[in-house]
């Protein structure tokens, strides 16, 4: 598919010292004005939704209601037995889905936080949607472990509340770490997302005509008025949250991987899991961001804001993380072979050749082989290819968790208890339901909230620089300062 890209002109000539500046692609094409950006992004929220939105929203909402609502009702009223879990595979699809969703939920915060810290300005076009995706994915993920427990009405036992029984939780359990990690992650992500949105909500508030809109957006915009004394604190808060989220995002999937890595189960008990899980999460998360943003970009005509450069950058990250994940897969196999531990070796042999070989093949081909297409620029530029690879990665990442959990549990230590695991109808129903719920929430997000960070996108425009117009007027800002500033910009952007 051809993409009409208007080659950016060289930046406006600047006086002062000549610096060896490489020509850069612009993040906003066609020299759009501030107002154009505002109009375009707020338009998504303010204009009537395209038919396609309704066509997507209604079925998704129904699937979510039936799948999640109905599925959970049946589950809680009847027992965990409605799922396919057995005394052998005590964890089955539900935990696969949990890890899958929590993995997807990593790209958002990662884009917002890590790319912010590394001054990757191209993140501004996608970070809002990616953060929303994080929140919704974590919501979907949270359903599984919460309802997965046999007595969900007793789940408050997990909270360290003083009680007349004087009994406490086991702080050595990775599952308790998980409870803390996932809830912290959700909370901090939500704060991050919301704070980032406040100026944009103010934009919508100021453009709103209806009373309800004025009221609701007004409430959530907190009375934001763009004062620089506010911006000053706000920028600092944003930086702090980014700095907090970066280790957090790495810790969350590490903790999830501890669920497996700290066990004694052959095929789980491996120290490579934390980095491997984190890489996998970034990998899967970026694929999901692309899967959602490419269609949204078309539907809402955001091509000038989410440019081919963005897509190219993300494809490169997918290639990198996909290769890390591939390395981890191979390293697992090597360690199983090299470790001379019979049961470990058998576990991996059974993964490769056992009854679930197809899952392993699906995982390998989707996660390791398909992203290799991104070595070619042509493939990164062809949106059909990008979309195809991303779909593959989404599927492949689900299978990765399936391989880890189900394959391992159904062929563990003692052959006497080996049994194949089959998901039940309710398993499938709930998983499809969470996909529906995820899409429903995302569509609602597109409908009601600014899907691109308006303020930050404006900031990436060149004329946002107060020194854009001329430098001579700033006698107190020496040439060195400008050079340093430019260098700083370059450093961040040269990578991208």
């Amino acid at each position: 598919m051809a993409e009409t890209t208007v080659k950016a002109d060289a930046p406006a000539k600047r006086e002062g010292p000549k610096l060896p500046v490489l020509e850069r692609e612009k993040l906003i094409l066609n020299k759009r004005s501030y107002n154009w950006i505002t109009e375009r992004i707020c338009g998504v929220v303010e204009n009537p939704q395209p038919l396609l939105w309704w066509l997507l929203f209604i079925p998704c909402a129904i699937i979510a209601a039936v799948g999640v609502g109905g599925g959970l009702f049946h589950l809680v009223s009847t027992g965990v037995g409605v799922w396919g879990n057995t005394n052998r595979a005590m964890w089955g699809w539900p935990i696969v889905n949990f890890v899958f969703w929590i993995g997807i939920g990593h790209a958002g915060t990662l884009i917002s936080a890590i790319l912010f810290l590394t001054r990757q300005n191209w993140r501004t076009s996608i970070n809002r949607a990616a953060e929303a995706m994080t929140i919704f994915a974590v919501c979907c993920a949270g359903i599984f472990p919460a309802f997965h427990v046999g007595r969900v009405w007793m789940a408050w036992f997990l909270a360290p509340i003083p009680n007349p029984n004087q009994i406490w939780q086991n702080f050595k359990s990775p599952l308790l770490w998980d409870v803390f990690a996932v809830s912290t992650y959700f909370t901090v992500s939500l704060i991050f997302w919301f704070l980032g949105m406040v100026p944009d909500l103010a934009t919508i508030r100021d453009r709103a005509t209806g009373k309800v809109r004025k009221f609701l957006y007004g409430i959530f915009a907190l009375g934001w008025r763009g004062a620089n004394r506010h911006w000053s604190h706000y920028e600092m808060a944003y930086l702090l949250l980014a700095a907090l989220s970066t280790p957090l995002v790495l810790s969350v999937h590490s903790v999830v991987s501890f669920d497996f890595a700290t066990s004694v189960v052959p095929g789980w008990h491996t120290t490579i899991f934390p980095p491997y899980f984190v890489a996998g999460a970034i990998f899967g998360g970026f694929a999901m961001v692309l899967t959602i943003m490419i269609p949204a970009r078309f539907i809402y005509g955001l091509k000038d804001l989410i440019t081919m450069k963005h897509i190219d950058n993300m494809a490169k990250i997918i290639l990198l993380t996909g290769s890390i994940v591939g390395y981890a897969y191979l390293m697992e196999l090597f360690m199983a072979f090299y470790g001379a531990a019979k049961y470990e070796m058998e576990a991996f042999k059974l993964r490769l050749t056992g009854p679930y070989w197809w899952a392993y093949v699906a995982m390998m081909s989707c996660n390791v082989i398909s992203p290799q297409l991104f070595w070619w620029k042509k493939c990164r530029e062809n949106l059909w290819v990008v979309m195809g690879v991303c779909m593959c990665v989404n599927i492949g990442m689900w299978f990765e968790r399936f391989v880890i959990i189900v394959t391992t549990l159904s062929r563990m230590w003692l052959p006497g208890d080996w049994k194949y695991y089959y998901p039940s109808g309710e398993d499938i129903m709930l998983f499809v339901g969470t996909i529906g719920m995820f899409l429903t929430l995302f569509l609602l997000f597109l409908r009601f909230l600014p899907c691109i960070n308006i303020a930050e996108v404006k900031w990436t425009k060149e004329e946002s620089d107060p020194h854009f117009e001329d430098q001579e007027d700033h006698p107190d800002e020496g040439a060195e300062k400008i050079a340093a500033y430019q260098m700083e910009l370059e450093k961040g952007e040269a990578k991208a």
């Binding site: 049946h74 009847t78 396919g84 005590m90 997990l158 004694v264 531990a341 563990m412 049994k419």
Partner: protein, 1107 residues
């Protein structure tokens, strides 16, 4: 919840016909005791609707001693709901609420009565255990363990039936009076057990009614041995003296018993139980017995054998005759033997010869009379001192053929069935028993189930269970056991002796109540003729010293030649072997859900029976799809990889066995088929007793009629009726069967679907003979040393922990200085019989989950009875070694399950137990994932509340059928929590028994203190330690072979378990992970004949060839 349910039911005193009856001594005794008797069961049989029965039964549970009843559950208010304590009005003697009372009793069986000790709580029997005071006591089998559930079976017969229609007890009593007055020619059909009182009453009946005749019949007791031994005689083997045992298709440890097997297991231990102490020495090869087995399909006995010759059942006689010929018995020439067989026969004969009087030959009951004669001749020739022929009391009774003849001749006017068998269903098909029955004008059926025979007879009388009635029986060696009731009949059942007494009297039934003992009691007392004191003592012991008289063998060999004339089977004319089923026996346990759910010890099939064929036969017959390999391999890049694929018949809930049609003569049967390893080619094994009622449209069972149910909810739609292929001539073995494939598949629920250890040294085995291990020649001693170093353990360095398991003061965490519990399981004697599994189920309130859930892999048995087949790479691939391995929670000191529980629901006790607090568990199931032994079970559904037997019922949740108030709940052990859904459970070494014992020890300390000044008394850890080996866990006490040892590690060498763990055979399962399990295993030792190792390469190497 409505309030009325909880009200104390009020029933007029004279109508209280079900009551607790605790000990006969007291019943017999003073009037004061009668006053103390307390009503337990308020229901009035026959006058309550089904619903009311349920309700009042529920009330019953709530009325136990100090248990409470809730009223007006204050859900709306926040107030605490008011509950009541309802004490006895007149407290019965001895009953301490919450404390069990133990009574000696016995379960009569054809193989000989089983002396039992029954646990009762406030009058409810909850568990049976072997009566260890009895000299012949050798554990219990799974049937005995499960028989208690029959007592509480909700589908038990409760009503008197007249021509299949419900009638009142009064009606029957009237008819009985008439019958007893003028019975015409009367016949009685009894079971094959030997009851002295019954024999005496029959004698009296014969006097009263000239021409009265007594028969005995049980479907699987053909009494072929009597042709060789004389009528009513049986062979009792003293295995403790038997150095060499040749079993000719005799499953003497499993389904056909020949006396007490205790001696066999002791000899298997090769003197390690010397000086009356278990495990005082290592197994000494010269003290072990050597067991030769000739059989067609694997039996538990075959699994124990040192040398197992796999031949078709028809050829067993040929092998026997060849051996006889070698030993110099003059026999007709046998057929051709293969080279291998010749060697086997020659060496076996030599070995038997050498042992002389200490050798014994046993013939299986399914085998022909000729073989029994051969076996008797060989025994005689050897001068076997361990085989003793005894005369039982059964000789007086006519056999089934005679009954059939009499019925056909119309010689009977009244026929009373008191046999546990179900002849309409299980008699040979050619007899047409139902039609015959119509020729007898009055037929009275006394039975626990309103089964096919009950429906076909003119009268059916609900029988009293053996735990509800008086009686007596004899053990295999003739010891006189007393059967005493634990409780008044729950449903007003009639005991066999009461019925006989009624015929002896004027026909009125004297059933007994809290005031008067039943006629059965009088009958037994009159038989034993003991003074009150001696009688009380006998009841306390449960037996009276007695033994069978020795008898002379007939010495006949007239049928030997005939037995050799069996056609050689081929794939077009298969040999059919009808086998007793390990779950339902001959069909009588069809309604017993514990047995139905207990996996078949060999095939691991639950809830059904299938046909078994050998892998080669399956291939030859083209039965697809069936996995015929032990360790299936796939070619990957040209290399064979053992990759444990899904079996071709499917795995888990999708396991579906192919259906075949077996044609035998005129009859045919559509039945699913599975492969059975180690089975002789061209044979097909058909377990009997299943298919008693099907309404799912499948043709392989009796059509179930809802209006006249012959089988309860448990047995409905289970299995296929192989009886229909069976004729009087071919009652055990038939030949000339053909198989055709049916385009259909049948879901099967298997608990184990992979049969090999896949190169993992799990169940370990060594040999007393020298063996090459990885090109090293290893003697027995070397192998013994190597037990703990098999497999991974050979090259793993010891685990070291960077943390010391200490508390804040630096003391070890598992710190108790009184008790440290541990267990050892000796694979050398474990046959894999499921007895422990069922005992555990009874003791620990383990629910039944139904076929669907078992198929999914959600069975709840805390003990998983793994069974592995193993072949050596040079060994006979068709005749693998079979080795069972019971796996329950092994109570790891470093338990991986504990650390992962987020809510501290499973933590260690100071005594080394891996405790499980059900009420704290929220069901994350992480613990079960992290359990290397997979010993944890999860309550996926409310198995105790919802009925798992109704198809798909569990998935309906709150809308499903409930089973609250079901009689089964009366069996529950009040000292163990009944788990709800969403909770993990597992073995905790019967912690309720341990706590009970510890508390008892504390009580003793106080009693000591009361004499003196308690402040001056010093109590030490030693005082508080329970006496050595005084506590037995449920599985341990049930075990017939003493394979399970349990005790306190701090007792040091005094404790059997410590000695067991000091044995060189001791090893920890999955030792290298460093879990430090408290349950360890002792490797199996095989004692092969050196001369035969060239052909039996598998023996003793089940694991040893594994790297």
């Amino acid at each position: 919840m409505s309030k009325r349910v909880w009200n104390h039911p009020e029933v007029p005193a004279e109508e209280r016909d079900v009551l607790v009856w605790r000990s006969a001594g007291e019943l017999d005794g003073s009037a004061m005791f009668r006053e103390h008797l307390e009503r337990e069961f308020p229901e009035k049989n026959g006058e309550l609707t089904e619903e009311e029965r349920e309700l009042s039964r529920r009330s019953f549970v709530k009325l136990m001693g100090a248990s409470s009843a809730l009223a007006g559950l204050g859900l709306a208010s926040c107030r605490r709901p008011e509950s009541y304590i309802v004490p006895y009005t007149n407290a019965p003697e001895w009953v301490i609420p919450g404390k069990p009372l133990y009574y000696a009793s016995a379960r009569p069986t054809a193989a000989g009565g089983v002396p039992l000790l029954v646990t009762t709580f406030e009058g409810r029997p909850t568990l049976v255990a072997p009566n260890e005071d009895h000299p012949d006591s050798s554990g219990t089998d799974a049937f005995t363990q499960a028989s208690i559930l029959d007592l509480y079976d909700p589908d038990r017969s409760k009503d008197f039936l007249k021509a299949g229609k419900v009638t009142s007890k009064a009606d029957f009593e009237a008819a009985l009076k008439e019958s007893a007055a003028k019975p015409g020619k009367i016949g009685f059909v009894f079971g094959e057990d030997d009851s002295p009182t019954r024999a005496r009453l029959v004698g009296e009946l014969k006097k009263k009614f000239p021409g009265a005749k007594a028969y005995r019949y049980e479907a699987l007791e053909a009494n072929r041995a009597e042709a060789a031994l004389g009528k009513g005689n049986r062979l009792v083997v003293d295995f403790s003296k038997a150095d060499r045992i040749l079993s000719l298709d005799c499953d003497f440890l499993g389904l056909d018993e020949t006396g007490e097997s205790k001696g066999y297991f002791e000899r298997r231990q090769g003197g390690s139980h010397a000086d009356g102490k278990l495990y005082s020495k290592e197994v000494a090869p010269e003290e072990m017995n050597r067991h030769y087995q000739v059989e067609a399909a694997y039996t538990l006995t075959g699994g124990m054998a040192d040398h197992r010759l796999r031949v078709t059942a028809g050829r067993v006689a040929q092998i026997a005759s060849a051996i006889a010929a070698e030993l110099g018995v003059s026999v007709p020439a046998s057929g051709e033997l293969s080279e291998k067989e010749k060697l086997w026969v020659a060496e076996c004969a030599k070995d038997l010869q050498a042992a002389g009087g200490n050798a014994v030959v046993l013939a299986g009951k399914r085998q022909s009379a000729g073989l029994h004669q051969l076996a008797a001749a060989i025994n005689a020739k050897l001068g076997s001192a361990c085989a003793k022929i005894v005369a039982t009391g059964r000789g007086e009774f006519a056999d089934f053929a005679e009954l059939v003849a009499d019925m056909e001749a119309g010689a009977l006017q009244t026929l009373v069935f008191a046999t546990p068998a179900n002849p309409v269903f299980d008699a040979p098909a050619d007899v047409q028993f139902k039609e015959l029955l119509a020729k007898v004008p009055t037929t009275i059926h006394l039975g626990l189930r309103a089964d096919h025979t009950a429906r076909a007879c003119s009268w059916h009388v609900p029988a009293a269970h053996y735990l509800e009635s008086w009686g007596d029986t004899r053990t295999a060696s003739g010891s006189h056991l007393l059967v005493q009731p634990m409780i008044l009949p729950l449903h007003g059942g009639v005991g066999e002796l009461e019925l006989l007494s009624a015929f002896l009297g004027d026909g009125s039934l004297q059933l007994g109540d809290e005031q008067t003992p039943s006629a059965g009691y009088d009958a037994v007392r009159n038989t034993v003729q003991l003074q009150p004191a001696a009688w009380t003592e006998a009841l306390k012991n449960g037996y009276i010293d007695a033994s069978y008289a020795e008898a002379e063998a007939t010495g006949a060999t007239d049928q030997v030649a005939a037995s050799l004339q069996t056609p050689t089977p081929s794939k077009d004319a298969l040999e059919v072997i009808f086998a007793a089923d390990a779950s339902v026996w001959d069909g009588r346990f069809i309604n017993n859900s514990w047995l139905q759910e207990a996996p078949d010890p060999i095939s691991k099939l639950t809830w059904d029976n299938v046909a078994y064929v050998s892998p080669k036969t399956a291939e030859a017959l083209g039965i697809e799809p069936l996995t015929t390999e032990l360790e299936p391999e796939t070619k990957i890049f040209g290399k064979d990889v053992k990759n444990a694929p899904r079996p071709e018949q499917g795995e888990g809930e999708k396991a579906k066995a192919p259906m075949i049609e077996v044609k035998l003569g005129e009859a045919s049967l559509k039945i699913p088929v599975l492969v059975s390893f180690g089975q002789a080619d061209d044979t097909i094994v058909l377990p009997l007793g299943y298919g008693q009622g099907r309404d799912d449209g499948r043709s392989g069972g009796v059509v179930y009629d809802k209006a006249a149910p012959v089988v309860g909810q448990v047995g409905l739609n289970t299995g296929f009726d192989a009886y229909r292929l069976r004729t009087s001539q071919t009652d055990y073995l038939a030949s000339g069967a053909t198989i055709s494939m049916v385009f259909d598949r049948y879901p099967v629920a298997l608990t184990q679907e992979h049969h090999a250890m896949y190169g993992r040294a799990l169940a370990r085995e060594i040999s007393t003979d020298d063996i090459d291990v990885h090109h090293h020649h290893k003697s027995y001693e070397e192998q013994l040393k190597g037990v703990a170093k098999q497999g991974m353990d050979s090259h793993m360095p010891p685990n070291t922990s960077i943390y010391k398991p200490n508390d804040t003061e630096g003391k070890p965490l598992i710190s108790d200085d009184r008790h440290q519990w541990a267990m050892a399981i000796d694979l050398n004697v474990c046959t894999g019989c499921n007895s422990c599994l069922v005992a555990c189920q009874a003791e620990n309130n383990i629910p039944v989950v139904g076929k669907e859930q078992v198929a999914k892999g959600r069975e709840m048995h805390w003990i998983r009875m793994d069974r592995y087949y193993a072949v050596h790479k040079d060994g006979d691939q068709d005749n693998p070694e079979m080795i069972p391995q019971p796996v329950a929670c092994v109570q790891c000191e470093m338990a991986p399950c504990e650390t992962v529980c987020p809510v501290n629901a499973t933590v260690h006790t100071e005594e080394g137990l891996n405790a499980m607090a059900y009420n704290r568990c929220i069901g994350t199931r992480y613990c079960a994932n992290n359990c290397p032994y997979k010993a944890r079970r999860f309550n996926f559904f409310d198995y105790n509340k919802r009925n798992p037997l109704v198809p798909h019922n569990l998935n309906r949740g709150p809308w499903g059928k409930k089973q609250v108030g079901d009689g089964k709940h009366l069996q529950r052990n009040p000292n163990v929590s009944v788990r709800m859904r969403g909770v993990m459970e597992k073995c905790t070494y019967c912690v309720q028994r341990l706590e009970e014992a510890k508390i008892k020890q504390k009580q003793i300390q106080r009693k000591k203190a009361l004499g003196v000044d308690s402040t001056k008394m010093t109590v030490t850890a030693k005082d508080l330690r329970i006496p050595v080996d005084s506590v037995k866990v449920a599985c341990q006490s049930a075990c017939a072979s003493n394979a399970i040892t349990f005790g306190n590690l701090l007792d040091r060498k005094d404790a059997a378990v410590v000695r067991a763990k000091d044995s060189k055979r001791n090893y920890d399962l999955l030792n290298y992970i460093g879990t430090l399990p408290r349950t360890s295993y002792l490797a199996r030792v095989k004692n092969p004949n050196k001369e035969l190792t060239s052909i039996d390469k598998n023996v003793g190497r089940a694991t040893i060839h594994i790297h």
